[in-house]
């Protein structure tokens, strides 16, 4: 199972994008995407946690008893998330305030445990870390795309900067979570169409984010 870095990147960011193709991490994609700054910090936090928890789980993969592996994974993930939370509070108090409880909720993001279960458990440390890292990057990109439309149409700003040449009636709905449903739905529809001819089976259902 040797995968080139390029394959890891294209698999995680495009072919098997966690949000658009695997429908994971949807809860946070709905919650934090009304501002681009928040989405970026959330994405960076998740990327860090996924990369390092995948690395740690991969390093310990031969030691972890199979029956309690999920508890151990949760413990490792939670430790990294708490660390990120403390770090942001100490060094970026403003952002910590605006993200509020969402940082702690990275723990519940299915992407991290998904990568741990699907990849880090049976692969060597460095590929696992890269896999986790690029899974996080793929998630961040989708969040930023959604946040771009929501912030632009809902607030008339991009990364908090006023876009003065664009004067139009702001869409309040874009600020609220339902807008993310429409946008994610549209993006999933577009990507599913692109991949549709290659897939013989219809898309799987029943997964949760």
């Amino acid at each position: 199972m040797t995968e080139r870095i390029r394959q890891v990147i294209s698999r995680n960011i495009w072919k098997e994008n966690q949000v658009l193709r695997q429908i994971l991490g949807i809860c946070s994609a709905l919650a934090v995407t009304n501002l681009m700054t928040n989405s970026l910090v959330m994405g960076v936090g998740l990327t860090f946690v996924t990369a390092f928890s995948s690395l740690t789980i991969s390093l310990l993969r031969n030691l972890i008893p199979h029956r309690i592996r999920m508890i151990v994974q949760t413990l490792i993930i939670a430790s990294y998330v708490i660390f990120v939370d403390i770090f942001i509070k100490a060094n970026m108090p403003e952002i910590s305030k605006s993200l509020g409880p969402y940082v702690a909720l990275i723990i519940t993001n299915c992407i991290i445990m998904g990568r741990a279960e699907a990849y880090a458990q049976k692969n060597p440390p460095i590929p696992s870390m890269l896999d986790g890292f690029f899974a996080g990057v793929g998630y961040t990109i989708v969040l930023l795309i959604i946040a771009f439309f929501r912030e632009f149409l809902g607030f008339g700003t991009i990364f908090g900067y006023d876009i003065s040449f664009a004067s139009f009636e702001l869409w309040t709905i874009m600020v609220m979570p339902p807008a993310a449903f429409f946008l994610i739905g549209t993006l999933i529809w577009i990507t599913s169409n692109i991949f549709a001819p290659k897939n013989t089976k219809k898309s799987e259902t029943g997964r949760k984010g």
Binding site: L35, P65, R67, P93, S98, V175
Partner: protein, 198 residues
């Protein structure tokens, strides 16, 4: 041995101990800085309700606070008082706590010594929806309260005070703010009035 109950228990104990230790060390290392940030935030909030410059660097803020503000225990509350050069009280900052839409809101209400006019309002903690209710932190909303006379219940215009606008799309949060403030004025500020009269 791997997979046996003894190994499983020992493994879990060891790994829990290791991760807890690492996190405790990180917490101990960052705690002073987190507390410093919190204190600074609190100081800035108090300066803001007194209409003083709260935007400066950490040292300026702490120095200004030191020179112009004293804390007093009045009516069972720790209240900050803004003093002029002759030690006359220019305004009080009364802390408040109340239920917002999603969680507890905390902040300060600045009020004149006669307790008849608001000098400023600020929130130090809340869990309102980012982009909607969380806009109570924006200057446009907070500045509306400056100089507002306390004649009866605070209410949004046009039914109430014409100068006071709620936030579009965040009705519950906007109403929660006024409920907390009216409650504060009815109870705590009334108690404060009694104490100050004595």
């Amino acid at each position: 041995m791997k997979g046996g109950p003894v190994y499983t228990v020992i493994f879990m104990l060891v790994i829990s101990a290791v991760f807890t230790l690492v996190l405790s060390l990180a917490n101990a290392y960052y705690l002073p800085r987190i507390e410093e940030n919190e204190l600074l935030d609190d100081r800035r909030a108090v300066l803001y309700v007194f209409e003083l410059d709260a935007e400066g660097g950490p040292e300026e803020v702490l120095e200004l606070f030191e020179n112009a503000v004293v804390s007093e225990m009045l009516a069972d509350m720790e209240i900050y008082a803004h003093l002029d050069e002759d030690e006359q009280v220019l305004a009080y900052a009364v802390p408040f706590t109340g239920a917002g839409l999603w969680g507890t809101m905390r902040g300060y209400l600045g009020i004149t010594p006669e307790l008849d006019r608001i000098t400023g309002l600020v929130f130090t903690e809340h869990n309102e929806t980012p982009g909607l209710g969380a806009r109570i932190d924006e200057r446009e909303y907070l500045e509306q309260f400056r100089g507002l006379e306390i004649t009866g219940e605070l209410a949004y215009g046009p039914a109430g005070d014409d100068r006071l606008d709620a936030i579009t799309g965040a009705t519950s949060t906007s109403n929660a703010v006024l409920r907390i403030l009216n409650n504060l004025i009815d109870r705590k500020i009334a108690e404060l009035e009694v104490v100050l009269d004595d």
